[in-house]
Symmetry: C2
Subunit: 353 residues, 2 copies
């Protein structure tokens, strides 16, 4: 049921009345009922919304993957730049992306919301519709959560559950010296999208990437099931930082080649006259929600062939080295200083000593 | 490690410096590291803090119970009336209480925090110490979560996991006509405690009940394992509302006897001259985190004997009836109107027609 639509209930036209209804008027239980009505049962959901806790059945022999992300108004989103439907999708997407980065299959999730009492019910309706649309695309079911008042600003907390058998789960800590480094899709679009939104633009590929990121669920699971990845992470903090999580976790280092970083056409076009800004944004912008993973060099063809089969672009961008740190190198061998967004020939000379 | 303690690190006295350190200075990763260092591995934790998601092993044949509660500064707690240690305990307690109310064994939990950048690191240290102290009492392990900045006010979201075999899980919907209604402990203390705190009092039994509620984990699980309860809920919204969740869920009604409602000595003493306020607070105050459950009348002795064995007070307070609604009755048979906090002899006469 779409609450904003025209319909009659007990002979009254509901649209006008319900459009202006706020959380204060509908009450906490009214909101929970509205959300529960839209959420159908799913795989392994023995008890869903409405009891003290959900009860879930997972496949025997699998481990349960669980992850939680909190999105705070004014920090993670700006209600003047997004809409509730896409905010709902993104709030779940960032969690499904974490399940994907472990190689898991998402199954269900909990949603907790702190909502200002003045928030229109329509907003929450659109928000949950968006969230449930993404959930449906990935076979995940809403099984519970919490709704409460917020004195200031919207706070969204989602906990997602997935499963995968123990020996297929891909962690951050398994990268080995000599492994190749791959990334799915293109980087930097989301950060550029946010910049364009702030400048008043309303639509386009980078904006879509920022407001409605698509978690690489199918790809993460396919990699895990094929046993190809030695380590994996989703890019939320930016390539440089997330590569650092893998190298730190695996006690290795990484060489990444600037000219190999995958960039979309609209991204390249935007930065045509600012090549150093182009790299800085792509390496540090974050919120790409692409998968970054390592695989043995002997499996290069297997990786490329897997991604070709699942119609997903993947790019080899570097390799794992024994020396700690994440090193970005230009074609002439110069180091690119990520923080300053420029080439550091001094650093490079040091490295070459 | 207690960050506030005197110790030296690289020859410097850390106390003064670290006492005043804020989240802004320590950074998100610093906070996560601090929390991770205090959290040891536990039963079934295959991957804990530090990867994209936790990986948990549950007992084969068991269902996974999961519940989420959000606590918002200014709504659920007032930092001028509590301390971070007890706030940490309570944030986990309300979730463990939900696991208890399903008859489950708590195993692990995720913690998400939105924290103002000006928050002292010491506050978070005390908060997590408190939370982990309660976790230790119940064998639950912190396995992950999220930490982010909050533009205004602290927001805490905890997701707890437990397990129980399917046919022992106790839901809200199983109460049957003729069942007896029981409640653990005493009611109203927490609401009175909050009132006393607001009046400037600092300590005492009701205040302790409000700031540091003890979830009835052992009791919920014992009831479930013994197969004695037909329905169960923890009292968070108050006896009247939570009894209503059971009767609504079970499509029955309830008669509850005012003189049987268990009240502590300090609670009775406080309300000595205000008997109607006494009942209103006990029935609607909420945050008792006692267990409210139903059992067949043939199992009365088994229930009493079980609670005697586990040294927990339990009181039979009423019975399930076919007529919908929750009815509070005084010894003379008069109805007690919960909303008004007084006896409604008109209502009673109607009922007697």
């Amino acid at each position: 049921m779409h609450i904003g639509s025209n319909r009659t209930d007990n002979g009254r036209i509901m649209t006008g009345e319900r459009r202006t209804k706020t959380l204060r008027e509908a009450g906490e239980f009214g909101i929970i009922r509205m959300i529960a009505e839209k959420s159908a049962g799913g795989d392994g959901v023995v008890i869903g919304i409405g009891d003290d806790a959900a009860a879930l059945r997972f496949e025997a022999g699998s481990l349960v993957l669980s992850t939680s992300d909190m999105l705070v108004e004014g920090i993670h989103f700006d209600l003047s730049l997004t809409d509730p439907f896409r905010l709902g999708r993104k709030s779940l997407a960032v969690n499904l992306s974490d399940i994907a980065a472990m190689g898991g299959r998402p199954l269900s999730f909990l949603l907790s919301l702190a909502v200002p009492a003045s928030c229109p019910v329509d907003f929450l309706d659109e928000f949950t519709s968006g969230m449930l649309s993404l959930a449906g695309e990935h076979g995940a079911t809403l099984v519970g959560g919490d709704t409460c008042a917020s004195p200031r600003g919207l706070v969204i907390s989602v906990t997602a559950f997935g499963e995968q058998v123990s020996d297929r789960i891909v962690q951050r800590c398994g990268a080995r010296v000599g492994d190749l480094i791959f990334v799915t899709g293109t980087l930097g679009d989301s950060a550029l999208g946010l910049e364009l939104l702030r400048r008043g633009e309303k639509a386009g590929y980078p904006i879509d990437r920022h407001l409605d990121p698509r978690p690489r669920v199918r790809q993460g699971r396919a990699l895990a099931d094929a046993g190809l990845a030695t380590s994996m992470i989703d890019i939320s903090d930016g390539l440089a930082a997330d590569m650092g999580h893998i190298t730190d976790g695996s006690s290795v280092g990484a060489n990444l080649y600037l000219e190999k970083i995958p960039l979309s056409r609209s991204y390249r076009e935007h930065y045509r006259t600012m090549p150093e800004d182009m790299y800085r944004t792509a390496l540090t912008g974050g919120e790409d929600y692409e998968l970054l993973f390592t695989a043995p060099s002997s499996r290069r063809e297997a990786v490329l062939s897997l991604f070709s089969e699942i119609y997903t672009p993947v790019t080899e961008i570097g390799s794992i080295i024994p020396e700690p740190g994440v090193h970005f190198l230009s074609p002439d061998g110069a180091s690119f200083d990520v923080e300053r967004g420029g080439y550091d020939h001094f650093l490079n000379r040091q490295g070459a000593d």
